[in-house]
């Protein structure tokens, strides 16, 4: 369903909703995977992101997103200078992540490190600022950033979904969607949970404390307000 506020909006730094605003949102989501501004990032640009990204400030927008700037933050324009000043080690490469039938033309793979945490995320900018994360640490996912999201990797134990659902219900959080994927039977399970309300740090910490959870992160909503 189309919202009037999607049409009259978003408020954003130009010049392109897909190459700038969407790119910034992908940076914000990658930042969430390591719980804050990554110290290093390898940013691999594919397709149109690689071809016209520089002219659209795609590099600035992704770097800005990684540093926590939102699509309407004027600091995006000077994000690369800020990145250098802060001593952050972000590198940009042009690459091919697959052929056109498999990979959206505006796609980026971002490998981030913050302290002892690393993550690799692949995502696409679909147009009008909307984004879709399609892979996290090699697991196929679908994260839009339109809602608050919790992502976690757990051992494939019985009852894990029920345990997480109860835990969220106890915290008065309403699950909008839940997706479970795993690379193989008995292998690690990857859970993506979209939640209507913003989950607190305490919820994330409780999930992390479960013995069978390897890691869990909270991604803030990055869609239009």
């Amino acid at each position: 369903m189309v919202s009037l506020l999607d049409i009259i909006g978003p408020v954003m730094v130009g010049p392109s909703s897909s190459h700038t605003a969407g790119a910034c949102r992908l940076g914000l989501l990658a930042r969430g995977l390591v719980g804050g501004t990554p110290q290093t990032a390898r940013i691999e640009l594919h397709g149109s992101f690689a071809r016209t990204g520089e002219g659209h400030g795609t590099d600035k927008a992704i770097a800005g997103g990684l540093m926590g700037f939102r699509p309407d933050d004027e600091r995006l324009r000077t994000a690369l200078d800020i990145m250098e000043r802060e001593g952050l080690d972000y590198t940009f490469e042009k690459t091919t992540l697959g052929d056109d039938t498999d990979v959206h033309p505006n796609t980026v793979r971002i490998s981030v490190t913050r302290n002892d945490r690393t993550a690799v995320m692949q995502g696409s900018s679909l147009g009008a600022g909307r984004v879709l994360v399609t892979q996290i640490d090699g697991y196929p996912v679908e994260v839009t950033g339109n809602l608050h999201t919790i992502v976690l990797v757990a051992e494939d134990v019985k009852g894990s979904v029920a345990r997480i659902a109860t835990l969220l219900a106890d915290a008065e959080l309403n699950i909008a969607t839940l997706r479970l994927t795993r690379k193989q039977r008995g292998g690690d399970a990857f859970m993506v949970i979209e939640i209507d309300e913003q989950p607190g740090e305490a919820v994330r910490d409780t999930i992390r404390a479960l013995p069978w959870v390897r890691w869990a992160f909270r991604l803030d909503k990055v869609g239009a307000a």
Binding site: M1, V2, S3, L4, L5, D6, I7, I8, G9, P10, V11, M12, V13, G14, P15, S16, S17, S18, T20, A21, S48, R51, T52, E54, G55, H56, G57, D59, K60, D72, E74, L76, R77, L80, G127, A128, G129, A225
Partner: protein
């Protein structure tokens, strides 16, 4: 949200209310936000639009490639043309200003997109200033513009990559025309005719930006899009009707977009982007961007 402008016009006229009323009610019913909350978000959009217009009047403003910028200022302090001192010239200036700010990585409202962001603020704020229209009415007009844009998104497309520039500045002209007619006291039907009149004038318009950058001709397409919107507003307010209803004009835009060769859909493979000068400029400027960024 409505999927047909005819339905919205019928509902509004049956109740004797403007299109913005049915648009705001539909949005509130869909998303659960109060009308006051939606109007608050639109008021913020208006504030950002005005900010971009002010910022874009700087004669030294340049895009990151240097291809565009500083032309809005020429409509303020440059030599007079036949339209000097008129609303028309002021609206052109505003459209260029917003789009030049967009190209320079300034803050704008994508309405409906970043590439077509100049038309709506230029037409609405330009008319509001010339006719002393209070902000409340301009905010309502933004709701009507949003309704028209939502119908276009539903029936056709708002993406240059999908439908060419007719889906970006063309849709923006249709939105601006219909919204402005309400703001100026026209009826919902007149808004519908204004939208149809504006969009018929942009059918077939290709998206052919040099180097794939939202700069050239995008900046100028916003100015000419605003001019088409003004023409449509003038005709509709004079009681001129367009025989093909707005919904069908929008459907036609979608159909033409689907048939449009990929070269004319934002890929820089055809149109002005593929001219000898277009190719040369794009190459030079992309090199320049790289150099500037080290």
């Amino acid at each position: 949200m409505y999927k047909s402008l005819a339905d919205a016009i019928r509902d509004a006229e049956a109740r004797g209310v403007p299109l913005s009323t049915v648009a705001l009610e539909a949005e509130s019913a869909d998303g659960g936000r109060t009308i006051a909350d939606i109007r608050h978000a639109l008021a913020r959009a208006l504030h950002v639009m005005r900010g971009a217009i002010t910022q874009g009047q700087d004669p030294d403003l340049r895009s990151s490639s240097g291809l565009v910028g500083g032309d809005a200022a020429k409509l303020i302090s440059g030599p007079d043309g036949p339209l000097a001192g008129t609303l028309f010239r002021d609206v052109l200036m505003r459209a260029l200003a917003v789009q030049e700010v967009n190209a320079a990585m300034g803050v704008i409202v994508a309405a409906p997109t970043a590439g077509g962001a100049g038309v709506l603020p230029a037409v609405l704020t330009g008319l509001a200033k010339a006719k002393n229209i209070p902000d409340d009415k301009v905010i309502d007009a933004l709701a009507t513009a949003g309704l028209i844009g939502a119908v276009v998104a539903e029936r056709a497309s708002l993406s240059g990559a999908e439908g060419g520039c007719q889906a970006e500045t063309g849709a923006a002209a249709g939105m601006a025309a219909g919204a402005a007619v309400e703001m100026l006291g026209g009826t919902p039907s007149q808004s519908g005719h204004a939208t149809a009149l504006a969009q018929q004038g942009t059918l077939g318009l290709v998206c052919d930006p040099l180097g794939g950058l939202v700069e050239l001709p995008c900046v100028f397409r916003n100015a000419t899009g605003a001019a088409i919107a003004l023409a449509a507003i003038e005709m509709a307010m004079a009681g001129i009707t367009f025989a093909i209803p707005a919904d069908e004009v929008i459907d036609t835009m979608g159909e033409i977009g689907k048939a449009m060769d990929v070269r004319y859909r934002e890929t820089a493979g055809g149109g002005l982007a593929a001219t000898p000068t277009g190719r040369r400029l794009a190459k030079e400027r992309l090199v320049q961007i790289k150099r500037a960024e080290g």
